[in-house]
């Protein structure tokens, strides 16, 4: 008993309070989105989404209790085991899984469905934390980079094979812990530059981009030391950028699936075909935009309630908050997320073990990616990538996976002083 109380005291309650607030907002929003005044069903009614979600929230208490009770050391010692089990599940689901909405990523388990890819996030986080926690591990050689990269790319590839590109993209989030552990920012800069060039190519004509690149290359050559090496390097990078630009069309037309092409096109100009691929973006912006400063009031969000916004309870749940609670509500929700992530960074930094810190930053990265992409797509800053908003969106697997992800870190944090015992 004494130990129980002490663990409760050691947990970071500010994070737990934000967690509970987000869960509550999510649950209320799910109820409102499917609210039908005529049916008179209560929020606990198991025939509607909010009732089902309530059961899942209750089940999270068990999950949390288990995580807090068991020995914190097993997360590090069994990190590879967890990773391996989930990898196996990812392969099994490809063979035995059920296809839902074009993605073969679900296990049908009678009364509920399980999506292993959601759990791959925390197992991968544990695995790279374990791998990089080795003393004197450095990310400055390609051998280590490739090894860490493999931990990330293997589950990512399996999830892409399932047809769930959105969830696979989340693994990009591991850039955050890698960056903290000394990844050369050049990689990130190159990655972001590629993305920017990719997007620019969609907006700006190739001719202008070409002229701009040639000018920049010439300027760099002119102002730099005119050694052959530098000139060659500059010209080579210019050529690389060129090839990216010309690859964009090819990628869009041949590599991306039609629905993915449409999502990118919708990002550029949703109004071009409002009944077609721009439909989601226009309607989610309309729902949010119609909320005004204070929103239409709880349960009054007719636009989301009348099914104008697709995937309203899952990927587009933020529309309900924006419509019913307005900008003030959005401010509260965004602030909660930002505070959560800032706090998690601070917690990660106070860890004594590298394992805990890397894991902590992985948690931050994953939350950040979900937060930025999910809300970004509802307001037209990102293509529609079907990933949930942590703790808010409807769905069991994602709620459990995020809860596990977060509470493992809180458990590790609670024991941060004991880490030397090892």
């Amino acid at each position: 008993m004494r130990e129980d109380r002490s663990i409760l005291n050691k947990l970071d309650w500010s994070v737990i309070l934000i967690y509970l607030a987000l869960i509550l907002i999510g649950w209320l929003s799910i109820y409102s989105t499917n609210f039908d005044p005529e049916s008179g069903k209560s929020i606990f009614d198991l025939s509607i989404n909010s009732g089902k979600q309530f059961l899942r929230i209750l089940s999270c208490i068990i999950i949390i209790a288990v995580i807090i009770t068991i020995d914190f050391r097993i997360f590090e010692s069994l990190a590879y085991t967890f990773y391996g089990v989930v990898l196996a599940l990812l392969i099994f689901v490809l063979i035995f899984g059920d296809e839902v909405a074009g993605s073969k990523s679900w296990f049908e388990l009678g009364f509920f469905r399980l999506q292993p890819s959601e759990f791959a996030k925390f197992t991968t986080a544990l695995a790279i934390a374990r791998f990089m926690a080795v003393p004197n591990f450095k990310l400055d050689n390609s051998k280590n980079l490739i090894r860490v990269g493999l931990f990330i790319v293997v589950p990512m590839a399996l999830i892409i094979l399932q047809g769930d590109t959105g969830t696979a993209l989340v693994f990009v989030a591991f850039v955050v812990p890698l960056y903290r552990e000394g990844l050369n920012p050049v990689f990130i800069i190159i990655g972001i530059s590629m993305a920017v060039i990719f997007i620019l190519t969609l907006f700006v004509s190739k001719l202008y981009l070409g002229i701009a690149i040639v000018s920049i290359v010439l300027l760099i050559i002119f102002f730099n030391k005119k050694t052959w090496r530098k000139i060659a390097l500059t010209v080579a990078s210019g050529a690389l950028v060129f090839s990216v630009i010309f690859a964009v069309d090819y990628v869009i037309d041949n590599v991306l699936k039609p629905h993915q092409q449409n999502r990118i096109k919708a990002l550029i100009n949703p109004e071009s075909d409002p009944r077609g691929y721009g439909y989601n973006v226009i309607n989610s912006k309309t729902a949010i935009g119609s909320g005004g400063l204070t929103g239409k009031g709880y349960l009054q969000g007719y636009y989301t309630q009348f099914d104008f916004v697709p995937e309203q309870t899952t990927d587009f749940i933020f529309c309900t908050v924006g419509e019913e609670m307005g900008w003030i509500g959005s401010l509260v929700l965004l602030t909660l997320f930002v505070l959560l992530m800032i706090r998690l960074v601070n917690l990660a930094e106070r860890q004594k073990s590298r394992f805990s810190r890397i894991y902590g930053y992985s948690v931050v990265g994953i939350f950040f990616f979900h937060f930025a992409v999910n809300i970004g797509m509802t307001i037209g800053y990102f293509p529609v990538i079907g990933i949930p908003l942590p703790f808010i969106s409807y769905g069991g697997s994602s709620l459990w996976a995020f809860t596990i992800l977060l509470f493992i870190f809180l458990k590790l944090d609670a024991h941060r002083m004991q880490i030397f015992i090892r």
Binding site: R180, G289, S290, L293, Y303, F306, L334, V345, Y361, V364
Partner: protein, 604 residues
Amino acid sequence: MNESRRYIIQIVIILIGVVYLVKLFAIQITDNSYKVKAEDNVMRPVIEYPYRGLIYDRSEKNLLVYNRPVFDLMVVPREAVIADTVEFCRLLGITTDEFDKEVVRMEKDKGYKSFLPQAFIKMISLEQLARFQDKLVQYPGFFIQSRTLRGYEHSSIANALGYIGEISSTALNNDSTNYYRQGDYIGISGIEKYYEKELRGQQGVQFKMVNARGVVKGPFKNGNYDTLSVPGENLVATIDLDLQAYGEKLMAGKAGGVVAIEPKTGEILSIISSPSYDPNMLSGKGFGRNFMDLTQDSLKPLFNRAIMSVYPPGSTFKPLQALIALQEGVIGAREQIYCSGALVGDHAPPGYYDVHEAIQKSSNNYFYIVFRRVINRNLSENTFIDSRLGLEKWNEYLYKFGLGKPLGIDIPNEKGGMIPTPALYNRIYGENRWKWSTINSISIGQGELLISPLQMANYAAIIANRGYYYTPHIIKEIDTTGLPLEKYRIKHESGIDSVHFTTVVDAMEDVVNKGTGLRARIDGIAVCAKTGTSENPHGEDHSVFIAFAPKEDPQIAISVYVQNAGQGARAAASVAGLMIEKYLTGEIKRHWIEEYALRGEFIY
């Protein structure tokens, strides 16, 4: 060494949060269009069409116009499921080709939206309805919508009633009140057009909220913006349907116009334009085809001759000439004037005439002399100027008799005819280059004088009233007020003393008893009348007749024009006499006249 990177990570997190909040501020607060758009997308106005007002005849027992229900087969294309097209077509009695054609037509419609209800087949027959209604459940997305069309239980008075039809794009653009929408029905001619505002009522609008699939979820903003429809006002027409139908029967096979007025009130008892058409032709399914047929008919059945055709009045004009001359004092009531017959050809023999006999025998020479006296008053030594001054004075009388400009009947497109003015003659002959002898044919109602049957009937009513008239009108009661329009309650004076009417009326009585109007004579009823023959340079003369009866306390004043039917004493007098008999006694005793009129052989 990498500790500082925590701050970069935290800054990026905060930065994204701030950027998103700024963007949210822009779409939620700065930009109002999303709010408008959300309301637009969920709000669906549902128009509640009011019942169009009915029109009764003057007895208030007969309906001139009523509403008859028709049924349209509607479809919400997005929800439509037809399992068996062949069976579906069989139920509707159409071929699969026609089915395909309807689908193509519907999808080409301007307002076509797959989630909105569209008319698939308009006005299905009762038989189709009965067959289809039972099977409706098998065809999701289809439903029957009822609406009303105008219906008529008689085949009379088509031109005066007019018709309704879908509003034209021009009318829609001109609608400054923004009341009408594409596809709304509006009165296009006749009473339907003139009393459109009263008849149409007021559309109601219910603002519904619909979900993304167009399913109604409830009232918008608790129905605070909803309005109820107000049914149109019923109208009571001045028309006597029996008289109207009888008159149309008499006029069948002839071209022309008849207008009968109750003199005391200006109420139009009967307004006939011949040839006419069955008003049911321009209501409902055959509208398009029938309308084409009617517009292409060389006899112009859509042309309302009673108010739109104008003719020289011929000798029917003589009583008016007499009244003006008497009022001006240029002749005395018993003054004998010698007519040699030298001025103009004449049916009346040469000799002495007073005004009574001149009217009774329709002496042309007498009225030439009288008109010269009216025109030339020696107000100026210059006969040209003198003629001009005389004609101006004469014009004033004519205007007071409602000639030369539209009377203002409550039917659109009334023509005003023409009275010759100094300005007209100046144009024709040049200023100061015309005098009485130039223009003397108007003495006897020929020449440049053009008068519509309506104006003629009103002129007869003025004589019947001995000097006043109410503007002829066809609607005597509007539901809310129980009164005709304000302008039909104003008494107009003719400016001629009633004593002079006595002289003229006596003469007109003898026209019927001893003169040219014998065919209008009815035993026991004192009919006063004047025949006329309107000279027609293009063919046979037009037969013209005006009359009123009984002489004391007149109940009916009538004008009849029958085109190309020769002397007024024949066709026009017969029709007028029969209608007076019908109206005053309710039956026809003079069957030989009726047979004569119906046979329609007036040129012999």
